[in-house]
Symmetry: C2
């Protein structure tokens, strides 16, 4: 039985994860790291082809060359999202080689990665450490995985690799374009996905790095988002992904009147507290509400000739329009969500690709997330103390990853524009099923029934005094929602077994996920 202790957030968390000691969450900014970063082995040019041709015939041969053995860790990345062919090919090859007990360390997994369930069943895979969107998350919460899952934010993943918490034996990087030396880019090629920032840590720290591409170009591949000097082998596949599932040609704004209202209230709030001014910055994702928020903001900016210094994406056609219209100097892009984003990254010098190192790594000398004037995020649940959940549903099932969400909480003003209930289940709860973000970092909750400001942000309360905005206590909104929904959200029916640990941005354990009963 896993030993649990209560952490600084009042959550019971394991002190050991898959046989390795784990540090319970100590409070925001309270964990002081020591020592030096991890480091890759020293290699030498005499052991690589002088002509720069590192091509290997196929993934299976590449894994053999990488000396893949039982119990090793293989990493992959989610740039190709639900269209990825590479991770499945890697574990199919590992299975053919008869290797067992691998740890899969993806930056995120998607429904397309369901074939890994068979490898978990057969023993090829021991467990997954990384976001599990959909079926793999469901599998995990049913208690079927041998090891404990570990969920990290994008920044937390970089931190874990950098600090040596996770040692990657073999990194496999799917690359829309690459040269034989291993220089690679995501911004062009038949399966272009934009950037490859999630693979940066892996390319720097893994013992062995394999680039897999379906678009081999002559040296040099420019830009070199991944540097060939970190790459051991290059494999060419017919196709690394289904382009139609990598990026959506059009990302949609919300059509729901409630969501539109939430988006508008969020933009108005930003305006009234003085955020929307020349040289400001904002981050908003690619969800319908966030996109609509960005459009309301855009209209304000146009009207008053306000120019942002930078906006952070996930980039979409809407952010690209703002850049090309001159409403922002820069897009600092962490993930490209549509084809316009990919095009813009190729064409606009002001559309800059970033990585979890620059944007989110808590164990760096600062990061970009804390420089944002306002960041707009989602949540599956929020409790009365502004604590929020993004990974589990109220039934306890682990269906989403953390993404950059935890990292973004460092912004100067973090707003969660969320519906107060979904499918007649309140989103506002007494206690979140899984704690992903401490309430002290969440400044504002915007719902269709009103805006709640974190009592700790007296400055924001003062800024909207006398405003016509529907500012209300969170508890009051929650009570109203419960009345509509016929009571509070039912607690999930959970067993004792811990199936997943949720890491905080500093590598400590902020919460864990229990097995779902029945």
């Amino acid at each position: 039985m896993t030993r649990l202790v209560e952490n600084a957030a009042g959550r019971l968390v394991p002190t050991e994860i898959n046989g390795v000691e784990a540090v319970p969450f100590k409070g925001v900014g309270k964990h002081q790291p020591t020592g030096r970063k991890a480091a890759a082995p020293i290699r030498a040019c005499q052991d690589y082809p002088a002509d720069g041709h590192k091509l290997t015939a196929d993934i299976k041969s590449a894994l053999v060359n990488a000396d893949l053995r039982d119990g090793m860790t293989i990493s992959t990345h989610h740039h190709l999202r639900n269209g990825d062919f590479v991770a499945n090919a890697v574990f199919a090859a590992a299975a053919e080689l008869g290797v067992k007990d691998l740890r899969w360390f993806p930056s995120a997994s998607f429904p397309c990665h369901e074939p890994q369930i068979a490898h978990l069943e057969s023993g090829v895979l021991h467990h997954i450490e990384g976001s599990m969107n959909g079926p793999l998350g469901d599998y995990c919460t049913r208690g079927k995985m041998r090891g404990m899952a570990v969920l990290r934010s994008h920044g937390g993943r970089y931190q874990a690799v950098q600090d040596g918490d996770v040692h990657i034996d073999v990194a496999v990087i799917a690359a829309p374009t690459a040269d034989p030396f291993g220089n690679a880019t995501g911004d062009r090629g038949p399966t272009a996905c934009g950037l490859l920032g999630f693979a940066l840590a892996d390319s720097e720290y893994a013992d062995h790095v394999i680039v897999v591409t379906d678009n081999l170009v002559e040296f040099p591949c420019i830009p070199w988002q991944i540097q060939g000097n970190n790459v051991d082998q290059v494999v060419v596949m017919d196709s690394i992904g289904d382009a139609s599932k990598i990026v959506s040609g059009t990302t949609q704004i919300t059509k729901s009147p409630d969501r539109l209202l939430i988006a508008e209230l969020t933009a108005r709030f930003c305006d009234e507290v003085g955020i929307v001014q020349d040289g400001f910055s904002f981050q908003a994702g690619a969800g319908g509400t966030a996109l609509s928020f960005a459009l309301f903001l855009r209209d304000m900016m146009r009207e008053r000739s306000i120019k942002a210094r930078f906006v952070r994406g996930g980039s979409t056609q809407y952010l690209v329009d703002m850049l090309e219209e001159g409403l922002t100097d820069y897009i600092l892009d962490g993930q490209t969500f549509d084809l316009e984003g990919v095009r813009s990254m190729r064409e606009n010098a002001g559309h800059v690709n970033t990585s979890p190192f620059t944007s989110y790594n808590w164990h760096g000398k600062g990061n970009f997330a804390s420089l944002l004037d306002v960041t707009v995020l989602g949540a599956t649940e929020v409790d009365v103390n502004f604590n929020a959940n993004v990974v589990t549903h109220s039934d306890g099932r682990l269906l989403h990853g953390i993404g950059g969400w935890q990292n973004c909480l460092a912004s100067k003003c973090t707003i969660l524009p969320i519906p107060s209930f979904r499918d007649r289940i309140p989103v506002l709860v007494d206690q979140v099923t899984t704690l992903c973000g401490p309430g002290e970092l969440i400044d504002v909750i915007v719902t269709e029934r009103g805006i709640a400001i974190n009592p700790q942000r007296l400055d924001l309360r003062d800024a909207v005094r006398g405003s016509s905005l529907p500012i209300r206590p969170l508890a009051e909104i929650k009570a109203e929602v419960e009345e509509i929904c016929g009571g509070a959200a039912a607690a999930a029916e959970l067993g004792e077994k811990v199936v997943a640990a949720i890491k905080w941005v500093d590598g400590t354990v902020i919460d864990c996920v229990r097995v779902v009963r029945g």
Copy 2:
């Protein structure tokens, strides 16, 4: 007395340098590194300002904040070349603080850095590890420095930092443009110098990193050649350098008929052995002969509609013209030598900045240098076995750095176009004063009296069989030169004391420099 042993090149070299064990050169590609790379300390965002403002009032305060102490290593870089103000300011501040016995680890030093002689005399500096162009080199060869100098190539410097051979306590990076977070670029600003690649290793591996700029811009500084996530402090100075001495507005081709002949012969040789064809690559520096060679090549390319895949600089107006004329897809630039190079780097997507990591680091998974079809380099001396010297003159004085010279020897065809004598002193000698590059890596010597092909390159000999080019044995050219000059070059008058060690690209010691008598 320093203990010396004979290395694989037959040179006597010290087995200990400044109290640390040194590995004698074992032969090209024979030294097998082990272990893992060095690594910087793990830092945490809570210890840096959340708003990203890392500004410190002045260099002295920054050194205090960096906890500078006796015996530490401070690094600086030579992007501002002979116009640099920053290194002098750093050691003046260190002297004011009363710190002693520092090791200065510049990527190169120039005549403008002569003030450091006073700090060597007073004890603030213990010794210099890095190229010493001019007065500091002269000072060193007169045996006046307490410690032993260590000269490394650009790639060797990266290797030494990466492998932990040299631990940098405080890196100071002069940056023509930077933001308060520490993102920095060299391609713009009143003291623009192009790129900042020589500071990359320092930014990644030093315990503490200080950026010094005279052009502070709002976050984000784009491009971020140096990433603020690696930077601890930012200091603003009135001026970091004398722009007129950083880059020369015009780099000159040679006017000497002999040098022009050498350049032409070199280009013709490249053509006759089949190097000049579509998709080829070449590297040539900014010296007059190298530039002239590039122009002869350009004319051939124009005439026959040949396009290079990439050329490597030091970039100059001539390479930029070739890029903009469409004669090459890319310039992979390691150092910007004139203002046109700086402009092009800012404006042309095909003008790509590189670093010693990508281009030259021998302890990487390959590097760019070995991909070059032909590389054209200089030398102060060449001996009958094609061994070459680039750091000392025949009088034994250490007046030049290694630069990327050793690293470039890895190219597919390395040519030294050199005059056979200078000031009536033969350049062709029985034995080089200082061995910097083993003859087995030097393929061709082009002089005004003929072209000598390394006997090991039977393929090149075969390729020019029947050519009208003046192909001659090196010994024959040497004999002719000695007749003209009235005998062989006189051996330098040297004492026993070793004043400097010359590292090979893999960190082993290939030769050493003795004190100059009298």
